[in-house]
C-alpha cells in the first residue's frame, strides 16, 4: 500500500528555492528603501540633443544607457522605439536596454522548471553549469547556495554542506544564505546546526525573515527562540511592512495554536496581509487543523498562490487530478523535500497512474534515498505497473529496523502486495494479515484491508469475497475521500466479478 503524508504537524521552515526565484518572489526585499525622486540631469539633456541631431544607433544607445542609469527612462522612449524598430541586428545588450525603457521586460527572467528537469542527469548538468560560473566569479555567493541546493536534490549531503559553508564564510549575514542554510540542516535532520547558524547571525535580532526561520527551527526541537519577545514587539509595531512580517507572524501564530494561546487568530490574519507562499501554506494547514472558524475569509484566493495549500485542499475535496497537478508544482518548487514527493506519488497511485507515481517517488528518492515512504511508494507503484523486479529492488532497500510501528504495518502490507504479484498468494495473504495485526489508525488499516481485498480479487481466491466484504464494512463509514475512492474501486471489482 502507498504511504500518504501525515498532516499532523507543520512549521514555517523557510522555502529553499533557486536564488533567482527567491529574488523574483520579493523575499529578498530590503527592510527599508528610499523613495526615488528623479531629478533632471544636464548630461542627459545633452544626450537627448545629440540623439535628436544624429538619430542613429550609437546615439540612441548612449541615451538609453544614461537614461536607465539615472532612472529617467521616459526621456529615452523615442530612442528605444528606434532601436526596436530599425535595428533588429543590434547587440543583445542594446535590445535589453530598449526593452526595459519600453516596459517590455523588467528585471530578471526566471527560466521555468518542470518535473523532467529534476532528474539526475539534468540536475548534474545544472551543477556543472553553476560550477563553470563559479570559476568565472567565485565570489558570487548565490551560485554556491544554488549549487548546494542542486547537490541536496541529488542526496549528496557532504557536497551540499561544503557549498553552503563556502557561502556562509563569504557572506555570513545574508537573509537568503542563512535561511537556505537552516533549511539544508533541517533537511539533513541537523536541527541544532539549523538553530545555531541562525542564532549566530546578527540578523536574527534585526531581520524578521531570519527570526521567523529561527523560531521555526527551534520549535522543531521543542525549544522556544530566545528572541521570541523581539518578534512579538515587531508584530505589535509598525516598524516593518507586512510582507516582512508574514512568516514571522505565521511562525508565532503556529506557536500560539500549539500552546493554546489567544493571539493565534490575530497573528494569522497579519501573516496573510502580504503573505509569502509559505505563510499561505501554513495558514491553510492551521485551518485544516483547527477549523475554518479561525479566519473570517478563505485562505486561498487568486492572489494567494500556494501549490502546497492547493494540493492539500483539493485532496480533502477529492479533486484528485487538481491535487496531483499542484502536488507536482509543489515538488518542482521544493524538489529535495520528502513531503511533496510522498504526497504526489500517493495521489498519482490513487489515480492508478502508477508510472507517474513511480517517477514522482523516484525524484524524491534522489534527495532522500533512504526515505521509507518514498521507497515504499516507489515499490508499490512499480509493482502495480508490472515492474516487479524494480519494485522488489526498492523494497529490499528498506531497513526494517528503523521503522516505526505504523511504518512496519505499511511495509508488511506492501510486502504482501509483492508476494501476490510474484504469484505467491498464500505468502501475500500471510503478510497482509500480519500487517493488519499491527496497531494502526483506522485510515491506514482500511487502506491495507482494501488493498488486500483487491489482490485477493485479482487472483480470484475463494477467500476474496469475504475479504472484500470485511474491507468495505470497515471502510465505508470513514470520512476520508481517498478511502471512499478505494472502496468504490473495490465495489467495482466486486460487481465485475459477480458478472
Amino acid at each position: 500500500m502507498a504511504v500518504f503524508n501525515e498532516d499532523k504537524d507543520r512549521k514555517v521552515i523557510p522555502r529553499w528555492r533557486r536564488f533567482s526565484a527567491t529574488l523574483a518572489r520579493g523575499e529578498l526585499t530590503p527592510l527599508t528603501s528610499r523613495v526615488f525622486k528623479p531629478t533632471p540631469d544636464l548630461n542627459l539633456q545633452a544626450r537627448v540633443k545629440d540623439w535628436q541631431e544624429h538619430g542613429s544607433l550609437s546615439f540612441a544607445a548612449d541615451l538609453l544607457s544614461c537614461a536607465i542609469t539615472l532612472g529617467l527612462e521616459n526621456e529615452a522612449r523615442e530612442a528605444a522605439e528606434y532601436v526596436m524598430k530599425t535595428c533588429p541586428s543590434c547587440p543583445e545588450a542594446t535590445k535589453r536596454l530598449a526593452q526595459r525603457v519600453l516596459g517590455l521586460s523588467r528585471g530578471t527572467e526566471i527560466a521555468p522548471v518542470s518535473l523532467d528537469m529534476l532528474d539526475r542527469a539534468q540536475t548534474g548538468k545544472r551543477i556543472h553549469e553553476i560550477r563553470q560560473k563559479t570559476h568565472g566569479d567565485p565570489r558570487n555567493v548565490f551560485l554556491w547556495v544554488d549549487m548546494a541546493r542542486c547537490y541536496t536534490m541529488l542526496g549528496m549531503k557532504a557536497q551540499a554542506v561544503r557549498c553552503l559553508d563556502v557561502a556562509l564564510r563569504l557572506l555570513p549575514n545574508n537573509r537568503f544564505i542563512l535561511r537556505s542554510a537552516s533549511r539544508l540542516y533541517i533537511h539533513l535532520h541537523e536541527y541544532d546546526l539549523a538553530c545555531k547558524v541562525l542564532r549566530a547571525s546578527d540578523l536574527v535580532t534585526s531581520d524578521p525573515w531570519v527570526l521567523a526561520a529561527h523560531i521555526a527551527a527551534e520549535s522543531i526541537v521543542h525549544k522556544s527562540s530566545r528572541h521570541l519577545k523581539k518578534g512579538l514587539q515587531w508584530l505589535n509595531s509598525e516598524r516593518f511592512r507586512p510582507v516582512h512580517l508574514s512568516e514571522l507572524a505565521s511562525a508565532i501564530a503556529t506557536l500560539e495554536i500549539e500552546s493554546g494561546g489567544r493571539w493565534a487568530r490575530r497573528f494569522l490574519r497579519l501573516s496573510l496581509q502580504e503573505p509569502t507562499e509559505n505563510a499561505i501554506a501554513q495558514a491553510s494547514w492551521i485551518v485544516r487543523k483547527v477549523g475554518s472558524h479561525i479566519l473570517e475569509e478563505p485562505v486561498l484566493s487568486a492572489d494567494r498562490p500556494s501549490s502546497e495549500a492547493r494540493a492539500w485542499t483539493y485532496s480533502k475535496e477529492g479533486k484528485w487530478e487538481d491535487s496531483l497537478k499542484h502536488a507536482c508544482e509543489w515538488l518542482v518548487d521544493q524538489p529535495f523535500s520528502n513531503r511533496p514527493a510522498v504526497f504526489a506519488s500517493y495521489i498519482a497511485a490513487l489515480l492508478e497512474n502508477y508510472t507517474v507515481s513511480a517517477n514522482l517517488a523516484q525524484i524524491g528518492r534522489l534527495a532522500n534515498p533512504n526515505s521509507f515512504a518514498l521507497l515504499n511508494n516507489y515499490a508499490f507503484a512499480q509493482a502495480q505497473a508490472g515492474h516487479l523486479s524494480a519494485a522488489i529492488e526498492a523494497y529490499n532497500k528498506i531497513n526494517e529496523h528503523t521503522l516505526s510501528l505504523e511504518q512496519r504495518m505499511v511495509w508488511r502490507a506492501t510486502g504482501g502486495l509483492l508476494k501476490f504479484r510474484s504469484g505467491d498468494a498464500s505468502a501475500g495473504r500471510s503478510l497482509y494479515l500480519v500487517a493488519l495485526g499491527e496497531p494502526a489508525e483506522p485510515k491506514r488499516r482500511a487502506m491495507a484491508m482494501i488493498n488486500h481485498a483487491i489482490e485477493e480479487s485479482l487472483v480470484q481466491t475463494p477467500e476474496a469475497e469475504s475479504f472484500r466484504k470485511e474491507a468495505i464494512a470497515f471502510s465505508e463509514n470513514l470520512p476520508d475521500p481517498d478511502i471512499k475512492m478505494l472502496v468504490n474501486r473495490l465495489r467495482k471489482i466486486e460487481q465485475g466479478q459477480k458478472r
Binding site: F19, L23, A24, G26, L28, T29, P30, T32, S33, R34, V35, F36, D41, L42, N43, L44, A46, R47, K49, D50, E53, H54, S56, L57, S58, F59, A61, D62, L64, S65, C66, A67, I68, T69, L70, G71, C90, P91, E92, A93, T94, R96, L97, R100, R106, G107, T108, K133, G136, D137, R139, N140, V141, F142, L143, L171, N174
Partner: protein, 348 residues
C-alpha cells in the same frame, strides 16, 4: 540676447586665431555645459575648436559671486590640467593648442571671455561607429588601446579623468583616438572644483559604488578605480553599444538598484555582483567569438563592482599598483595588432 561668450564670431584672438563660426553642439564639444563652441582657424590655415566659458549663467544664479568664482576655478583647473598634459607631450589626450582671454565687447571691461583652443576632431566614438557600415574589430581594439593609453598617461601624473564616456573619446583620423574633457578630472595633490562632488563625472556612466554613495576616502581607490571602471564600460560600449552601468541596472532587481537601496554598499554588493555576472554574459554575446573570453575577462576585472578588488589580479598582490592600466594597454595593443594583420577571421 546673446552673451559675451556667444558673440565671438569674426574676432581675431591672440596668436592670430580667427573665429569662423559658432557651432551649436559640434561633435567635438566636450564637457562643460557653461561654455560655447566655435570653429577657429590659425594663420597657417589649421582649423581648431574653441571652447569659450560663458560667465553669464553665473549672473542668473542665486549667488553670482560664488558661482562666478566656481566657474573660474573650474576653468583654471581644466586649463592647468590640459597644460600639464601638453607639457608632458601626452599624445592620447586632447590638449589645447592655445588658451587665453578676450574682451568680447572692447568697450566693456567685464566682457572678458576665457577660452581654450583644441585640435579639431572628426567626431567622437559614436559618430565613427555610425559611419562604419559594419563592425570593425581592429578599429574597435585600436580605439580601446588608445583610450587605455590616454588614461594611463593621466594616471602617471596623478590625474584621474573620471568622466570617460563615448562622447569624450574623440577621433582624429587615421585610427587615432584621444580622450577629451578634463573638466571633471581630479589631481591627486591639488584640490579640484569637483573633488567634493560625490560623482564628479557623468552619472549616466558612473561606477555602481558611487551611485550607491559609497565614497572611499582613499584617492586611488575612489578616483583611479573609477577610471578603471569607465574604461571597462567603454569596452562594453564598443562591442555591445551599452554602458556597463545601465546593463548592470537592467539585471538588478528593482529593490536593489541605487534608486531604492538605502543601506550600506557592502550589503547590496552580493546582489550587484550576481547581476553583474549576468550582465557580463549578455555583453559577451556581442563580442566576436575569437576574443570573447579574453575581452570578457578584461571587462570583468575592469568593471568589478567591488572597487577594492578592481584591476588585474596580479596587480592586487604585493607592492604592485592595483589600479595600473599597463597590462590592459598591452593586451589591447596585442589584440589590436593581431586584428590589424587579420589574425581574427572575418575582420580587417
Amino acid at each position: 540676447m546673446a552673451t559675451h561668450a556667444e558673440s565671438l564670431t569674426g574676432r581675431v584672438l591672440d596668436g592670430g586665431w580667427k573665429v569662423l563660426e559658432k557651432v551649436a553642439r559640434p561633435p567635438t564639444a566636450t564637457g562643460s555645459i557653461f561654455s560655447h563652441g566655435y570653429i577657429v582657424v590659425s594663420p597657417d590655415g589649421q582649423k581648431a575648436y574653441l571652447k569659450a566659458l560663458d560667465y553669464s549663467k553665473a549672473f542668473l544664479s542665486n549667488d553670482p559671486p560664488r558661482f562666478l568664482q566656481a566657474m573660474t576655478e573650474a576653468f583654471n583647473h581644466e586649463r592647468d590640467l590640459c597644460l600639464l598634459c601638453r607639457d608632458r607631450h601626452f599624445d592620447r589626450i586632447v590638449i589645447p593648442l592655445a588658451d587665453g582671454k578676450i574682451l568680447a565687447a572692447p568697450a566693456i571691461p567685464d566682457s572678458l571671455v576665457n577660452y581654450l583652443i583644441f585640435e579639431l576632431a572628426e567626431g567622437d566614438v559614436r559618430t565613427q561607429m555610425d559611419a562604419a557600415d559594419r563592425f570593425d574589430l581592429a578599429w574597435a581594439l585600436r580605439s580601446l588601446h588608445h583610450v587605455s593609453v590616454g588614461l594611463s598617461q593621466l594616471h602617471r601624473v596623478g590625474v584621474a579623468h573620471q568622466d570617460l564616456k563615448p562622447s569624450n573619446v574623440l577621433y582624429f583620423g587615421e585610427r587615432v583616438f584621444k580622450i577629451a574633457d578634463l573638466g571633471s578630472a581630479s589631481h591627486k595633490s591639488r584640490l579640484g572644483p569637483r573633488d567634493e562632488w560625490e560623482i564628479a563625472g557623468d552619472m549616466g556612466y558612473a561606477p555602481p559604488e558611487l551611485l550607491y554613495k559609497h565614497i572611499d576616502p582613499d584617492w586611488d581607490k575612489r578616483r583611479l578605480s573609477c577610471d578603471m571602471y569607465l574604461l571597462g564600460s567603454m569596452v562594453v560600449f564598443f562591442f555591445a553599444q551599452s554602458g556597463m552601468t545601465a546593463l548592470l541596472k537592467a539585471h538588478l532587481n528593482s529593490n536593489h538598484t541605487w534608486d531604492s537601496w538605502d543601506g550600506p554598499y557592502e550589503e547590496v554588493l552580493p546582489y550587484v555582483r550576481d547581476a553583474y555576472n549576468r550582465a557580463l554574459d549578455v555583453f559577451a554575446t556581442s563580442v566576436p567569438a575569437e576574443i570573447s573570453v579574453k575581452i570578457k575577462e578584461m571587462v570583468r576585472q575592469l568593471c568589478e563592482p567591488d572597487p577594492r578588488l578592481r584591476g588585474h589580479p596580479r596587480d592586487r598582490i604585493g607592492a604592485h599598483n592595483q589600479y595600473s592600466l599597463e597590462r590592459y594597454v598591452s593586451q589591447f595593443n596585442l589584440l589590436a595588432s593581431k586584428a590589424e594583420i587579420g589574425l581574427f577571421g572575418g575582420n580587417e
